[in-house]
């Protein structure tokens, strides 16, 4: 279980998060919802260690930790809103790059990648480059790439936003099938129906400060 307590974050003099608590339960999916500009992405980035919080605590299975330590231990995977696949590498190499650089043999990494690609219905795309994939395929590669490092928690920022609206249900099915394999997941979304379809629990981030709409 990962807990965040009393997380605060300001950009300049704009307070975005004022003492937010988050509990991420094992093998559940937590949806983080809220209006545009509320700070959902910011919160996700804090968990991922991409944006430093101004203050707050992080507790992993009862012990104090930091986002940087979580990441270095390989506990956190991220599926970015824009997927951020490496365009210069084939789909398979996108999956094997990090594992091989972190000590896996090429053979083991390739076998694991091919299995993940098969599970995500991407076997035919293994040797393709990302530019040639559809949005849904890119997203599945991004998920597979994160899973290849066997994280404990997988974070998604707006997994439906870059895709055709009628793919929404299949993204929900996908996230639910990843959960069925025992993954803990955090899904940022502004889409309440989608949150309903995937979430065991929901955290609403309120928009602070007023001012802009």
């Amino acid at each position: 279980m990962l807990e965040l307590k009393n997380i605060t974050k300001k950009f300049g003099d704009q307070t975005v998060l004022a003492g937010v608590d988050v509990t991420i339960a094992d093998q559940k999916t937590l949806a983080i919802v809220g209006p545009s500009g509320a700070g959902k992405t910011t919160l996700l980035r804090i968990i991922a260690g991409l944006t430093p919080a101004d203050s707050g605590e992080m507790i992993w299975n009862g012990k104090a930790t930091t986002a940087a330590k979580m990441r270095q231990a390989g506990l956190i995977g991220v599926v970015f809103q824009g997927f951020e696949l490496f365009p210069n590498l084939t789909v398979r190499r996108n999956l094997t790059l990090a594992p091989t650089l972190q000590g896996a043999t090429q053979a083991a990494a390739t076998a694991q990648a091919d299995q993940l690609l098969a599970e995500l219905d991407l076997s035919a795309q293994a040797d393709a480059y990302p530019f040639s994939l559809s949005g849904g395929q890119k997203q599945r590669v991004a998920i597979a790439r994160a899973l290849a490092l066997k994280p404990q928690i997988l974070l998604y920022d707006e997994p439906t936003s870059a895709l055709d609206p009628n793919l929404r249900q299949s993204v929900a099915d996908l996230i639910n099938s990843v959960k069925a394999q025992g993954m803990t997941q955090v899904v940022v979304t502004h889409d309440m129906d989608f949150a309903q379809a995937v979430a065991d629990e929901t955290l609403t981030v309120a928009k602070l400060g007023g001012g802009e709409a």
Partner: protein, 218 residues
């Protein structure tokens, strides 16, 4: 025609010098420019990093802000005053590599700027080190982005290599001038122009090949 054949050996030995300067400069300046550009990427705030970056910026400014001709003269005739003595060819190589590396570093810097922050972030959440991120993800993309501008600079280099005459080295242009002055005819210079055109044509074709080799992804 006999005349052309009679001056050709002199011109071709000039071509050798031109090609030597060209090839060695590229071999040195392409990686050196990358090292400088990567150094400029570092965002550390400690005094050493800030000083190092200032030094790199100063170096680029110096070498892009003054004529290559002047730099050659300073290196060959000026540095001996402080007991740094180069032979002619070494002076040329030293100056050309530093000069071109400064231009290449600026081109690479632009290339790094074209890579989205998300690529760095994706690499960092995959726990790639800074170096691994550059080596496997960013630099390959930068090289693709910079190819057209690098092609221009490479063609400039062929022509810039004619500047070596100021410190008394005989290159292609120099060989042509000697023959023109001696024989009072423009024929040698026409041949010189043709030889330059052939070299730049080969380079242009080569550039297309390389760009094609990089077109397997977008």
């Amino acid at each position: 025609m006999d005349y052309v054949i009679s001056i050709l050996p002199a011109l071709l030995s000039g071509v050798q010098m031109t090609l030597a300067v060209f090839a060695i400069t590229l071999l040195g300046a392409i990686p050196l420019g990358m090292i400088v550009a990567v150094g400029l990427l570092y965002r550390g705030k400690n005094p050493l990093a800030v000083a190092g970056k200032g030094l790199l910026d100063g170096y680029i400014w110096l070498f892009r802000g003054t004529p290559l001709l002047l730099q050659l003269i300073f290196v060959f005739y000026g540095l001996p005053l402080v007991h740094i003595v180069f032979d002619r060819f070494s002076a040329v190589i030293f100056t050309f590599i530093l000069n071109y590396a400064a231009y290449f570093a600026e081109i690479y810097r632009g290339g790094f700027g074209a890579i989205e922050e998300g690529q760095f972030e994706a690499a960092s959440v995959l726990n790639l080190t800074r170096w691994q991120t550059l080596r496997y993800v960013v630099i390959p993309q930068v090289l693709k982005v910079v190819l057209p501008s690098m092609g221009n600079e490479v063609i400039n280099l062929v022509k810039d290599s004619s500047l070596v005459y100021v410190i008394g080295l005989g290159d292609l242009l120099r060989a042509g001038e000697v023959a023109t002055a001696r024989d009072v005819t423009l024929v040698p210079l026409v041949l010189v122009a043709l030889l330059y055109l052939i070299m730049t044509l080969v380079l242009t074709l080569l550039q297309r090949r390389v760009e094609k080799a990089f077109s397997y992804y977008k």
